[in-house]
């Protein structure tokens, strides 16, 4: 027998679960907007650095950059607290969601790396991108992003499972939704 996405038992009424998932989704959209704005700030800050090579930590472009260090932890914290009310988002043994755990572990690794990085720069001052202490930053961030993506995709997939996301009005698209939910969309049995 082929195993597809785990069929979760209904532990809370479907309507309640949809409402709660959508509240998590509100947080996700707000965090996505913040992240998109900080992407813009990469260019704003880069533009500023064309004229000011060495600047202080507290230029407007840097405040804007730091805003996501406040917003995203608060947002993920709110999601982690609120999603206790959604049984399918819990991890093994009633623990925190696995995706959120990976995110926390990834960023803990980068926090540890800050110390390692400072020790490295104690004896080698120049910033060279591809040094091993920087690899650790990148690996931590990648693990964190994978966890966050897994979490967001799980929330969305559950909304689709519950039928809260409206299939397209195009009947062919609606049929694809139906097959996807049955685990048949990419099956080799269909030529």
């Amino acid at each position: 027998m082929m195993l597809y996405m785990a069929q979760m038992p209904a532990l809370i009424p479907k309507e309640v679960e949809i409402q709660r998932l959508k509240k998590v989704w509100l947080i996700v959209i707000a965090m996505g907007s913040t992240a998109a704005s900080v992407e813009v700030d990469n260019f704003v800050d880069g533009s500023l650095h064309q004229t000011s090579i060495r600047d202080s930590a507290f230029t407007p472009a840097h405040w804007w950059l730091y805003s996501h260090f406040i917003t995203l932890p608060l947002g993920w914290g709110a999601a982690a607290i609120y999603d206790r009310k959604i049984p399918v988002l819990r991890g093994p043994n009633n623990s925190m969601n696995t995706g959120l755990k990976m995110t926390i572990l990834g960023y803990l690794a980068t926090m540890f790396t800050i110390g390692v990085n400072e020790m490295w720069h104690f004896w080698f001052v120049e910033e060279i991108f591809a040094v091993p202490n920087h690899w650790m930053f990148n690996m931590g961030v990648v693990v964190a992003f994978m966890g966050a993506l897994a979490y967001v995709v799980r929330v969305y997939a559950r909304l689709v499972e519950l039928g809260a996301e409206t299939p397209g009005e195009n009947p062919y698209v609606a049929e694809m939704y139906k097959m996807a939910l049955e685990g048949k969309l990419y099956s080799r049995a269909i030529p």
Partner: protein
């Protein structure tokens, strides 16, 4: 269906619609007002942030650069706002297209006004 402690009829049966209502709290399709207020708060805060740039730090931020940032951010915030309202109301009978349209037009006019007349 098993319900959390404090809900249902104490093991005698299933949940009633009153239980379901109590578990939901404020429904997401009724959060449009709150989302709209947050949208305007975000727009005004963004304007204040970029204005702080070109009024207090003109050496760092030419006015045109601040306005460019404000325009792009207004677009990003507006997309997020539309997503929030449409996702929260889909599948319900609520329809706030009027409020959303008014807010988006208002934000566009405000953004154009700031870009053309403020800080030059």
């Amino acid at each position: 269906m098993t319900l959390p402690k404090g809900f249902g009829s104490g093991g005698a049966g299933g949940s009633s619609s009153a239980d379901v209502e109590r578990m939901i709290g404020r429904r997401v399709e009724n959060m449009t007002g709150m989302i709209t207020v947050s949208f305007w708060a975000a727009i005004l805060a963004t304007f204040a942030g970029t204005a702080a740039g070109y009024f207090y730090y003109p050496w760092a931020y030419p006015t045109a650069s601040g306005h460019f940032a404000f325009i792009v951010l207004t677009i990003i915030i507006t997309i997020g706002y539309i997503f929030c309202v449409k996702v929260m109301e889909e599948g319900s009978n609520k329809n706030s297209n009027g409020i959303v349209l008014a807010s988006v037009i208002g934000a566009t006019v405000f953004c154009l006004f700031v870009s053309l007349y403020v800080g030059w």
